[in-house]
């Protein structure tokens, strides 16, 4: 029997008002997240990954941004229908988020103990002492040594990796069912990156938290995620289980993306190929209309790629892509 998804994003459209007119940042995006699952989101810089995450939290800066259409269903109730007060009860409690920039994501003038326990006291009727205990426990769980002393420290006294751990502790302090991690390691060095991913992996198993992991690094997805959605210019172009996408990418953009990462290839070393890149740049979002937004960079481009939105092509059981070329080749 098919499980009900925990979180579903349906036909999500996000627009930004700019001086030169409206920009469509997300274009009818569909996603779903099953309980206990780790869903990866990949795509180039500027393709709308962070906007997707902020939409789920309903933290799109408005104005200039706004969610113009769609549904975001958490356990089948639409978050977009909640009033601000109800949405505040969801944030940090049922859905939490950790951000790209650990150096600036903590408030410099409050101790980290206060910033973590604040989340607990906001959502659970805990006394100061209980919240403090729980804070120490959470900091210990994310691998911060001597948390009893750390809670009195301020963000500037911690390294980037430690700060990101504090963010993770804060995000998980109320056992949310969904954790959104938006490029949590981009600003950290490689060894710390590995530690943070190990931590997230362990949390996902121990706490049964579903995770949406945003990254532009295919090798991270290969390590971490169960399923992956590939985004391009505000739309999803392909989605499937991680193995299917890596071993058998169908969409021309995904193929390019996989080829960019040398060690993901099935038989490394047998063919010595130059490191690949996808020619061209991400299009100006204002110009995106009713065509395939990847068409200008696509090596298989055909006439009607410029005329109509590409259809959904089912490739495997959980594997589909949006492409005219694949539709023709069926």
């Amino acid at each position: 029997m098919r499980q009900e998804p925990l979180l579903q994003v349906k036909g999500l459209c996000v627009e930004f008002a700019t001086r030169k007119g409206n920009v469509q940042v997300l274009n009818h995006l569909d996603l779903h997240l099953d309980p206990g699952e780790a869903l990866g989101i990949v795509g180039e810089s500027g393709c709308g990954k962070s906007m997707m995450a902020l939409s789920i939290m309903r933290l799109i800066p408005a104005p200039p941004g706004n969610i113009s259409a769609g549904q975001i269903l958490l356990n089948n109730s639409d978050l977009l229908q909640l009033n601000e007060k109800q949405m505040q009860d969801v944030r940090g409690n049922e859905i939490s988020m950790i951000f790209q920039e650990p150096m600036t994501s903590l408030n410099p003038v409050f101790s980290i103990g206060m910033q973590v326990s604040e989340n607990i006291r906001r959502h659970q009727s805990a006394t100061r002492a209980v919240a403090r205990e729980k804070t120490i426990q959470m900091l210990k769980a994310v691998g911060i040594p001597v948390p009893e002393l750390r809670i009195k420290q301020y963000p500037h006294e911690l390294s980037g990796g430690m700060r990101q751990r504090v963010m993770i502790a804060m995000a998980l302090s109320c056992q949310p069912s969904v954790l959104i991690a938006d490029e949590p390691t981009t600003a950290l060095d490689v060894t710390i990156q590995a530690q943070i991913f190990d931590l997230l992996k362990q949390i996902q198993q121990d706490m049964n938290t579903s995770i949406i992991l945003i990254t532009h690094d295919m090798s991270v997805i290969a390590e971490f995620a169960d399923r992956v959605a590939v985004m391009y210019a505000g739309s999803k172009v392909e989605e499937g289980l991680v193995r299917d996408i890596i071993d058998n990418p169908h969409h021309p953009y995904t193929q390019g993306l996989i080829r960019c990462v040398p060690f993901l290839k099935k038989d490394p070393g047998t063919e010595r190929e130059e490191l690949n890149e996808i020619p061209g740049v991400v299009p100006d979002m204002r110009l995106i209309g009713s065509e395939c937004s990847f068409a200008p960079r696509c090596r298989y481009v055909m006439d009607h790629c410029h005329e109509k939105k590409p259809p959904e092509v089912q490739i495997g059981k959980k594997h589909h892509a949006f492409c005219w070329y694949l539709e023709e080749g069926k």
Binding site: M87, V90, N107
Partner: protein
Amino acid sequence: MKTILPLLKRIAYSLMLLLAVIVLNFVLVHLAPGDAVTAMVGDMGGATPELIAELRVEYGLDQNLPTQLFKYIAKMVRGDLGISFTHNLPVIDLILEHLPATILLVMTAFFMAILIGTVLGIIAAQRPNSLFNHLITVISLSGYAAPVFWTGLMLLISFSYYFPIFPSFGMETVGFRGTFLEKTFDVLKHLVLPAVTLASIYVAVYSRLARASMLDVLGSDYIRTARSKGLSEKVVVYKHALKNALLPVVTMAGLQFAQLIAGAVVVETVFSWPGIGQLAFNSILRRDQPLLLGILFLSTIMVVVTNLITDFTYRILDPRIK
């Protein structure tokens, strides 16, 4: 201990600064043409050269400048600021008599400007394009642009003459008798117009600063984090953002305090407020060097102390400064 050491260091610096200012003041005041004797002789309508020389000896003005300076500092260390030529009273007594009025005026205007300015700035930051925001900008900039004496006179005409709500001069009603409470109220009534006049220049400074700083802070990553915890907008703005947004305001307050004292001289003259501003003004006209130097010395102390206080406030607000 961690906070005491830098404080001691700051105090030591401040003392050195004070000494430098004393020397500088002394030299500057004596560079101005004429001295107390010239002024006195002018008042008398002329005098014989013998009398002039005699007077110079009496006031110690016949010695050369370094000797005078040395004697002055030596006396000052003992707490003796000299005798005022024009009042024939110890300078320290004169200053202590007029200082409370000035401190009352300056401090009231100082906190009024910071409080009103910051509150207006924060409200404006939350509605950057509202009519209210533009209104605040126009009013506060007018206060900033208008000369102090003009603002003072306009307020006098409006609220003392056409609508006689507030008294027009002095700090107390002459011959006023009453309980302590009634007297306090009487002083407060006299205080309103001068304090508003003096504050009006700085409300604009603080409201613009608080607005800009608040807008900047509200767009920062940690505010997004605070929102992502589900905190209400009130907590986000008044707890997480405000404490950060106040930092530049505190810095500015420390820097501006000296200008506030300068502004007080004008305001005290307009409203006949019996503070050291008036005393300073007259001492310049009469070339009363000991009195002028004493007043300058005291203003310097006030500025140095305020800077120490703002420095300390900053340390409390911002844990990054150690």
